[in-house]
């Protein structure tokens, strides 16, 4: 699967153009397979291709965060455009994950 890559102990998830409820189960279930199956400590969400996200995306991020935070894992968001950043900040995600510039 192209969208999920393990590099060292990081799982990198390439998010689709639109992150909504329709896509959320696919993203969460596959990410969890790597989190549980491989030696993954941290998760990186790559928003490079993403032009739209609603609160379903926040659910995806919080869900993965809960799965790895208790083992000291960290969640990162990279390549988030202004619109995505607004959604992340508005829902307080910047307090629990690292939003890279």
């Amino acid at each position: 699967m192209e969208e999920f890559k393990v590099i060292d102990n990081y799982l990198c998830v390439k998010l689709p153009e639109e992150v909504d409820h329709h896509k959320s189960a696919y993203i969460s279930e596959n990410a969890d397979r790597y989190i549980l199956g491989e030696q993954v400590n941290h998760v990186v969400f790559d928003f490079e291709a993403t032009r739209f996200m609603d609160s379903s995306g926040i659910g995806i991020i919080m869900g993965r965060y809960k799965k790895i935070a208790c083992f000291g894992g960290k969640v990162f968001a990279i390549h988030a455009d202004r619109q995505i950043k607004r959604i992340l900040y508005m829902s307080g995600m910047h307090k629990i994950i690292e939003i890279m510039e």
């Binding site: 639109e18 909504d20 409820h21 329709h22 896509k23 959320s24 189960a25 696919y26 969460s28 279930e29 739209f52 609603d54 609160s55 379903s56 926040i58 659910g59 995806i60 919080m62 869900g63 455009d81 202004r82 619109q83 959604i87 508005m90 829902s91």
Partner: protein, 181 residues
């Protein structure tokens, strides 16, 4: 040489008198979430909304329509990548979602209705972070986003009869600087 002319913005006078309406009715399945927000976005383009206004409206529509589908009719699973329902044994509940839009001058009115299970405690439902379906990893931010991205939000709901969400937004007035990216 091709000359690309910038679209003329609608003059203020013309805008005030502008009136337009549309209605959509579609099955309560997750594939229609993107359909609904793209349709509404296309409907409002004659008003020349800013990039930010367009994103705000799309997010609000997406939240309201998604709520109708997963809470109203309890079609909780999105379709998989290849169009299959996950898990495969889950039956799709029948139901329609109704989206009505009205433009009056520079005000956009949106109504999203379902005839689903309705909401018992509206005050609680509208609290940020509250979700009745934490097992589905809902974030409970849907109503908070609708409130933040639109100028006005009203919710009417009757248990077992359904829910109607009414939202309003004035377009073409955001102080977002276009072309900054």
């Amino acid at each position: 040489m091709i000359e690309i002319k910038q679209k003329e913005p609608i003059a203020a006078g013309e805008r005030d008198s502008m009136k337009n309406e549309m209605a959509l009715e579609f099955d309560a399945v997750s594939t229609n979430e993107s359909f609904a927000r793209v349709a509404v976005a296309a409907f409002i383009t004659p008003l020349n909304p800013t990039v930010e206004e367009l994103a705000d409206v799309k997010t609000a529509v997406s939240e309201a329509v998604t709520n109708a589908i997963i809470h109203g009719y309890e079609n909780v699973y999105g379709y998989g990548r290849h169009g299959e329902l996950k898990p495969v044994h889950v039956k799709v509940q029948e139901g329609k979602v109704y989206v009505r839009c009205r433009i009056e001058g520079d005000i956009l009115h949106i109504e999203v209705e379902d005839k689903g299970i309705g909401i018992e405690n509206l005050d609680k439902a509208m609290e940020p972070l509250y979700t009745s379906k934490p097992e589905l990893e809902r974030s409970g931010m849907g109503f908070a986003f609708m409130e933040a991205f639109m100028d006005d939000l009203e919710v009417e709901s009757k248990p077992l009869l359904g829910t109607t969400v009414r939202m309003q937004k004035k377009l073409g007035c955001s102080n977002f600087i276009q072309g900054e990216d």
